[in-house]
Symmetry: C2
Subunit: 221 residues, 2 copies
DNA sequence: ATATTTATGGAACGTCGTTCCATTCAAGTG
DNA sequence: CACTTGAATGGAACGACGTTCCATAAATAT
């Protein structure tokens, strides 16, 4: 008599589950993704989800893969200048992780995700095109991708621990204020750059780093 | 009659708790630090720990702070060449996070820890000493510290998800093998650098990145 | 027609961070 | 000195989580 386990009209699938997980992650942050919340959104039980997905790690990996793949498809980096192409790709990753901070956390939990391969290749291909000689190519590539994902990951951490409602510049002003009040003998440098810390824009700063690395690469061309 | 809550001979303290937490983290990894395991090691209950420590976040922050502070004290970077000093500091952080991977995870969970200030200042002071002009100083500093902590954090992630017992070169060979089998039209670059990926040493590669950024900084001197 | 696999969803298990609370001891107060 | 107050302790209990188990039903194979 119990109609407990009938077949659903809209069958579950890994794709549907991942899509719902992304909605949850974007709406409520990393902590918002629980199997109970997910089951509730999908009007099912946790057991049914586990039939399609091995565990939470696989779910997070699939969600990350989906978002990164979508972002890479949207990036148009076909211009003639390889340096501009690298800047475009780097900013694309930065903006993606900024919009989905949980992606950054996932990178620091499980690097080497399949979707990263497209990013890796895109960066490497432009370096090749730029004429970086064989001996310096791997170093140049490794430095760039490490910087890009490292910086984007740190930015995501900042975004995550930012109290909702407050804005970034207020938080930066707080930190810079602390720096300017440090001991003058022990922290002369931090005191001096405190105003720049308060005024800087994370995205511009990220790009300045990419440019500095490109300048370093320029010395071996 | 119940002797349940007598005073301890060796009174608890935040210092003792943090020390025990570090031992646990080093021995069992991030997952090994639970209030129950900690209470058992200290022969107490979780309630007593909470009297000295606000929550797990504060405990992790204190443990990280302790380890980083100790590492910075051990670093001797007094040499004449500011570039060498920067390399020494960078490698010191790399080695510290390599030895305590949970520190890397903590950085991506809560950056701006107080202990980082000493590292920040040390890097900045050497850039100043190097003669980086005012306009480029903040960019140079920001790029370096972002790279150092980003790279060390990614390295920690690799260390954490490495199956205990297996070695890094085997894991790298696996990944490189995958790269060399990628589609030749879509991934020419990754196929080409696969042998270098398999052969590289993480620490050397990290240092090569620092050198490349230093070369970039050299272009604005 | 029957057996087997695919799929479902709720209940139950074990662990975690955290809170609560009864209790004890040390330090102040008259 | 008695007595009150608050620091400190440690175990029990709470609620939420990831995960596993299981009874069931529909789809598919035999």
């Amino acid at each position: 008599m119990t109609k407990r386990t009938e077949r659903r009209a809209d069958a579950l699938s890994k794709e549907k589950i991942v899509a719902a997980a992304i909605l949850l992650l974007d709406a409520e942050g990393e902590g918002g993704l629980t199997f109970r919340a997910l089951a509730s959104r999908l009007a099912t039980g946790s057991g049914a989800i586990y039939w399609h997905v091995a565990d939470k790690g696989e779910l997070l990996a699939a969600a990350t893969d989906h978002v990164v793949t979508r972002a890479m498809s949207a990036i148009e980096a076909g211009g003639a200048d390889p340096r501009d192409a690298i800047r475009t790709i780097a900013l694309g990753m930065f903006d993606t992780i900024d919009a989905h901070p949980w992606v950054g956390a996932q990178f620091s939990r499980a690097p080497w995700q399949p979707a990263m391969l497209r990013v890796f290749e895109a960066i490497g291909a432009r370096l090749w095109q730029l004429g970086v000689p064989e001996g310096a190519r791997f170093n140049a590539w490794s430095t760039l991708v490490t910087y890009i994902f490292g910086a984007a990951g740190q930015n995501a951490a900042n975004a995550r621990l930012q109290a909702p409602g407050t804005d970034r510049s207020a938080a930066l002003a707080d930190i810079a204020g602390g720096w300017s009040r440090l001991d003058a003998a022990e922290y002369p440098f931090l005191r001096q750059v405190a105003p720049q810390l308060a005024a800087h824009d994370d995205r511009d700063q990220f790009l300045a780093g990419v440019d500095l690395i490109l300048a370093g690469i320029g010395t071996v061309l």
